[in-house]
Assembly symmetry: C2
Homo-oligomer: 294 residues x 2
């Protein structure tokens, strides 16, 4: 069972979509941890509560349901309609070979964290996340620019106090960002820095990555926020397409698929741009889920 944690519009849905496709959607349950709302939107009006606030969520029930899913049992999951702001009838979720739990708070409590085989925190550069949120909420959800900016401002306090601290709790942290000082043409995929913590058995990328591919990806030993040594995988979106494809294939095959090609569902950003950093991140998560499920 995988946790995909991150702030609003951090890329959880995009990452999850391709990952579920490569695992096989018929073997995969995708589960929103943001549905455990305690109140309808109108019930929160006039209070200081935002949907992200822990007191706005049935967090102990979320923990219970994660435990049940992790032990192969079905749950009757509450449903929150983020469009209408209403809680509606619950839905049956039956476990499957792979369970992907995405949300803003799946790693909030120790009990919840203990349910996951692997966890990832999406930590895009803040200007990137704001840009993604603005585009999604105006184009797909019908909000005005002004409304999205207000929503971001209103959510900032909870982001700082309860969402971002989960960064320290994940096995893998992915930061999508541009690279300072480069002047790439529009449409160049973002680069990513993938922190691979030793809280789980990470694949031996030092053995896998070859010197000829350093323009696409290279591994660097660095110090984590808490001072401990950690591997940081840098994946460059701007590298030439053929080098990216070669690096993807090398990693794909080294991570357990020696005889197949890289599936096209990986690296799909949903904007028509294919992203090698996204694809390789998905490969790493797929690797852990395949191991965790065996």
């Amino acid at each position: 069972m995988l946790a995909v944690a991150g702030d609003s519009a951090a890329g959880k849905t995009t990452l999850t979509r391709g990952l579920a496709q490569t695992l096989g959607t018929d073997r995969c349950v995708v589960f929103s941890a943001d549905d455990y709302q305690r109140f309808d939107r109108t019930e929160r009006t006039g209070t200081a509560l935002t949907p992200v606030h822990p007191d706005s969520n049935y967090l102990s029930i979320l923990e219970q349901h994660l435990q049940l899913l992790a032990t192969g049992q079905p749950v009757l999951k509450p449903v929150y309609d983020h469009t209408t702001g209403l809680r509606t009838r619950p839905e049956l979720v039956e476990p499957n070979d792979f369970v992907i739990v995405h949300g803003v708070l799946p790693l909030h409590s120790k009990l919840a964290r203990a349910c996951f085989d692997v966890s990832v925190y999406l930590d895009p550069a803040e200007d990137i996340r704001r840009c993604w949120k603005l585009r999604r909420d105006t184009v797909e959800r019908g909000y005005t620019d002004e409304q999205v900016r207000e929503s971001l401002a209103a959510a900032e306090s909870a982001s700082v106090s309860v969402i971002r601290p989960q960064r320290a709790e994940a096995d893998i942290v992915v930061r999508f960002a541009g690279i300072d000082g480069r002047d790439d043409p529009p449409g160049t995929p973002l680069s990513a820095e993938v922190l691979l913590r030793n809280t789980i058995a990470q694949p031996d990328l030092a053995q896998i990555l070859q010197p000829t591919l350093t323009r696409t990806a290279h591994l660097r030993m660095t110090r984590d926020t808490d001072g401990r040594p950690v591997d940081s995988l840098h994946i460059h979106g701007y590298a030439p397409a053929e080098e990216n494809a070669a690096a993807e294939l090398l990693i794909w095959r080294a991570l357990g698929e020696p005889d197949t090609e890289v599936p096209m569902c990986l690296g799909n950003t949903g904007t028509g741009i294919r992203s090698t950093p996204l694809a390789i991140t998905q490969m790493l998560l797929r690797y852990h889920m395949m191991r965790g499920s065996r």
Copy 2:
């Protein structure tokens, strides 16, 4: 945790109300097992499913929730609005000192049965139940006589196949009925026959009941449906009020309350008639719940 099982209008709510009041409503959770509907009413239209049909219910989730409650954990219980026929948003149920689960199918499965400290099946004479259902559904729920009769006819098959078999699974079976051959005036409370199975440690009523009170209550050894010996407590609604009051007080004090009077909430039929058979049944269940909770 107590199960109160029985067909529609078998008296579950009436029995439960007084019982919860005497246990203390602040220490008691009353829980409907009929809320685990899989479909809205319109979704069942045109199918052979009735709300009582096991396939119409999330029975495995009901089992899971009973197990959680029995082990002191909260659940997010689904809610079915029996008036509109719609499933609505779930509600948090937190365990308490006493949990009373009432419904048509709480004893359907072995796993569910294993969760209860004590279980009662309400098995009123069928003409009595039809009379109760007709009164309740026309007066309180706004149906016509004809609609209630149709509803009874439609439910008969599931009653026979899935509800009534639970009679064999309960620790206590209560049958409210008139007594053949008597010509009591209108308003005379019904009598009750209470089968006390040895599946749990029943109180020693042979020691408690005194010969002077036999007009109100007497114990008779009989054979259960499966041929085994069982105690059957007969409680007569028609006995004189002062004898009934004396019998109630005797049993109340013998079952663990030597220093208090019989609470007025016991025996309240909700129709203005006080029923000693109902009161004594509630005392017996209270006795088991007090023991089970210690």
